[in-house]
Structures are given as structure tokens and as C-alpha cells.
């Protein structure tokens, strides 16, 4: 069934959109990532103009993240207090990020910088997570008993303004989560994504939060960032395509529910290995695009087509 999208001005298959939304929704539910770094390239591939793809996927992320968050809230795997602290840092970070982004845009080559950012961050985070989680699995197998607890005390615990995060089982200073939120918000605004794939590892390795709580808390934070992005795009660029968003999010919210179910059954170490592999996969794809000679050296961008 073909459907014509009024803002994107293309006609695409509705079931294809449902499927895309579904796949990204499942991943979102399992890993607590918004899926922005996955759905946007997929939409380009279907033929949606980049500006519309970026804006609309932000809206779709709100839906699938909200759906997944509700499932996590029911299981009490969301640290709302920690989420709020992270969000506060995140909003400050994204405000700075937007300024930085516009500055880079004026310099040109912002597209290249975004891609390099992706390769570097995805590569480093993916590799670190993969090594750490594989080691954890091996250790668990060798011991045969319960997994040894990760070192809980590091520099993070030596700072002032301590606060008790009951759900995460932490008693730490608010400064590290604020800084993590700020850094993620900054990167998210520059890279145009929710930032889940940076947030999740940061919460696990820097803040020492339990993996099960991390996913729900990350989703909580992503919803606000994505909603903010959607509104910004809708007001300034008029590039949110509502019918496109509806088809993606119908697939997405269903996928997110299935994904949350899968995520609960998986072991924490396995979850981390899978997320690491996914991150490395996307990193590899972007790196290849930069390194290999493209089949078409030229690209066109119509101006005023949406004005």
C-alpha cells in the first residue's frame, strides 16, 4: 500500500515504514537507545529527504521511548531521581551544543564533523563495552558462581553534594551525573541524536549504575531530549512529517514493547555485548562510507523545495 507523505513529498510503501519502525522499536526497548542513529540512515535509504528524516525520526523516538519507558516503570527499573539530574545536565549541554553546531555550520563541513564524531565515539564506546562485557562473561563462566560485583568505589564517590539514588542503590555526589548529562546533551545536539548509546555506557561505567536500571533511566532522559528536538524542527524548519511519523511510531511502539520483553530475559552481560556489537556495526558502516570511494561522487541538494 503506497502512501504519499505531504511534507517529504514522496510516496512510499506503508508496510515498509511499519517494519522500519518496528525494528528500531525492538532495539530501543532492549537497549534503551532511542534508535536515532539507526532510523535516520534507514529513512535516507527509503528516499526521504534528510531534513525530514532527521526531524521525523525525533518524533518517532518520543513514541517508542515513551512506550518502552512505561514498560520499565511497571517493572520499577527507572531511577527517576537520577534521570532528572541527568536531564538537567543534558538540557544545559544541548543548549551549548546548538550554539556550537551553528558555529560549525557557519564554518562549513559540519556534515563531515558529525560523521567523524560518530566514528570516533561509536568506535571507542563500542570497543570498550565489548571488551569489558566479554571479560565479565568469561569471568562468570570460570567462577561458575554469581558474578563478582564491579568495583563500586572510585573517584566518583569522593566528591561533595552527595545524594541517595535508592533505585540505583547508589549514594554519590550529584556532580558526576550532571557532568555526564551535560556531555551527552552537548554531543547529542551536535550529532543530532538522543544520545542513548553514549548515555547507557556512561551510566554503567562512570556512575556504576546496575545495567537493568540504566536502560529505563536512559529512556526517561531521551524522551525529553527528542521531544525538544521535534518541537525545534517543527517550528524552525517545518520538516516534521506527521503521516510518516504515525506509520513509524505504530511500528515503533509495538516493537518497543516486544523489545522490553526480550531485554528482561537477557543477562546483563549479554545485553552489553549485543549493544556493543550494534554500536560497532553502525560505526563500521559510517567509517566505510568515509573510506571507500562512493559510486556517485556527486550529490544534489535542492534549496527552497520545502520553502
Amino acid at each position: 500500500m503506497q502512501i504519499y507523505l505531504p511534507i517529504a513529498e514522496v510516496s512510499v510503501n506503508a508496510f515498509l515504514l511499519l517494519g522500519l519502525g518496528g525494528i528500531v522499536g525492538i532495539l530501543s526497548g532492549i537497549f534503551g537507545v532511542g534508535g536515532g542513529f539507526l532510523i535516520t540512515p534507514l529513512l535516507f535509504f527509503v528516499g526521504i529527504p534528510p531534513a525530514v528524516a532527521v526531524a521525523t525520526s525525533a518524533n518517532q523516538i518520543v513514541a517508542s521511548s515513551f512506550s518502552a519507558l512505561l514498560a520499565h516503570l511497571k517493572r520499577k527499573t527507572v531511577d527517576l531521581k537520577m534521570g532528572t539530574v541527568l536531564l538537567a545536565g543534558g538540557l544545559i549541554g544541548s543548549a551549548i551544543g546548538v550554539v556550537v553546531f551553528n558555529y560549525l555550520k557557519a564554518l562549513g563541513q559540519v556534515d563531515l564533523l558529525v560523521r567523524l564524531c560518530y566514528v570516533v565515539f561509536l568506535g571507542v564506546i563500542g570497543a570498550l563495552m565489548l571488551v569489558e562485557s566479554l571479560r565479565a562473561i568469561r569471568r562468570a563462566r570460570r567462577a561458575g558462581g554469581p558474578l563478582k560485583k564491579r568495583k563500586q568505589r572510585n573517584w566518583v564517590h569522593a566528591l561533595p553534594f552527595k545524594m541517595r539514588f535508592r533505585v540505583s542503590g547508589l549514594y554519590i555526589s550529584v556532580i558526576p551525573p550532571m557532568l555526564v548529562g551535560l556531555a551527552v546533551g552537548l554531543l547529542a545536539a551536535i550529532m543530532g541524536v538522543g544520545g542513548g548509546f553514549i548515555m547507557v555506557p556512561a551510566m554503567i561505567y562512570i556512575l556504576g549504575m546496575p545495567t537493568k536500571v540504566v536502560v529505563g533511566t536512559s529512556l526517561f532522559q531521551i524522551i525529553f531530549v527528542a521531544a525538544f528536538t521535534t518541537l525545534l524542527h517543527a517550528i524552525t524548519n517545518h520538516t516534521v512529517d506527521l503521516p510518516l511519523a504515525v506509520f513509524l511510531l505504530v511500528g515503533g511502539v509495538i516493537g518497543a514493547q516486544i523489545g522490553t520483553g526480550i531485554g528482561v530475559k537477557l543477562k546483563a552481560e549479554h545485553l552489553r555485548v549485543l549493544l556493543a556489537l550494534l554500536v560497532l556495526l553502525v560505526c563500521g558502516k559510517i567509517a566505510l562510507e568515509l573510506l571507500l570511494q562512493p559510486s556517485e561522487l556527486y550529490s544534489i541538494a535542492e534549496e527552497g523545495a520545502n520553502a
Binding site: P6, F66, H233, Q293
Partner: protein, 256 residues
Amino acid sequence: MIRAALLLLFLLLPLRGVSAETEQVVLGLSHSRVAITARFDGSDILVFGAVKRETPIPDDRLDVIIAIVGPSHPTTVRRKSRLFGIWINTAAVEVDSAPAFYAVATSGPLGTVLSDTEDLRHRISIRRAIRSVGAPSELGDAQDFTRALIRIKQNDGSYQLLEGAVEVDQQTLFRTSIALPSNLTEGNYATRIFLTRNGAVVSHFETVIDVRKVGLERFLFNLAREQALAYGLLSLAIAIAAGWLASTAFRLLRNS
């Protein structure tokens, strides 16, 4: 004597004007409006017509060229090249005006039915329909960029050259069918018909196909433009509602 000659010339001028248009196009379109609805999936336009003339049919072969031009926009063409081992955009050319859609259907090979000078005057071939004067002078190969634009647009079906697609019957009746793709942009699509003999245009006719979004498509498009905040909030509300609905539905499913 001179006055008489001038008078004769003045009398002849309008006559010559008429003789140039002894053949006129009478045109029919299967539809002069294309409505883009939510289920829009491209549209075939049947262009047909007849040649009206009061003089006997000339001996030369009559050819017909039909061109449909979509709305034009300035377009940037970028080229990638290798720098420090990675492929990045290094050069860009601004094409002043490139149509979003362009289809040319002819009754024979374009090179034979239309001479170069006539092509230049009427901007009929795809190459001529694109206007690019502002190419930076330091780029000696600005032509490559226009060629790349045409190649990319031809590959995705936005530019079509349909040589031999116009059927001409008895030098009088002609018809062709042009497929408008599903990724159609809104606007006025100028439809031009040229009659040529020996590569020269003997008559031409122009009309407009109106391509408009209607119904829900129209409503959403306008809302996004005019009530951007409301539209954005509506998008978010739908997203939140859908997320809640799915979560509730799945809970009920699991509990039952």
C-alpha cells in the same frame, strides 16, 4: 515609391505572421489537474491532439515534441573527493534553476527532429532546461556538475527523455502518455507542444497541468506551515498517546 514599398511591407508583415502559424495545435489532456491525495502513487497523463490547418499538408515530415516541466528550484551540486584518506565534499556548484521534474517525448530522435539553434531558443532538451550561470570560475569543469545533476535525476526517474514515444498519425493526429512519478512536487507543470519540420519549430502551444495536494495532505501541509507550534505539539501528543496505547494494550494482552 519608397512610401509605397513601406506600405507594402507593413501589409506583408501580419501576413507573414499568419503564414508562420498555418498549422496550429488543438490539444487534449486526459486531465489538466493532478490531485495528490494520501494514496497518490504517480499518475499517467495522456497528451493527445490534432494539427489544425487550412492549407494542404506540406511534403516534409511533421514531428511533434511534447515537454512537461515541473516547478524549478535553485539546486546545489556537490562533489566528493579524497582528502587525508577520507571522502568529503570538496567542491560545489550552484545551479540557478533546475526543474523538479522534466519529461520530453518526441516522435523521433531528438537530434534529428530539433535543430540546435531551435533547441537553444525554446529550451527544449533537458540540457537546455537547466540554467547555470553562477558556476565559480575557478572550477574549469562546471559542466561536469550539470551533467551529474542530469544523470542523478534521470536515474531516479525525475528527468525522462522519451524519444519516439509520440505517435503521429497522417501528419495530423498525435498522442503520447507521460508517467508522472510518485515523488511529485506541488506546482504548475508547464506542458509545451512543438511541431517541427526539418528541425525547425513551425508552431508551438503551451498549457498548464495543475498539481495540487488535496484533502488531508493539503490540511497537514498548511498546518505545518502556518501553525508550526500547534503542529509540533500535535505530533508530540500523537507520539505520547501511541506510546501509552501500545503499552496498555500489551499489558492487557499479557494479563489475559
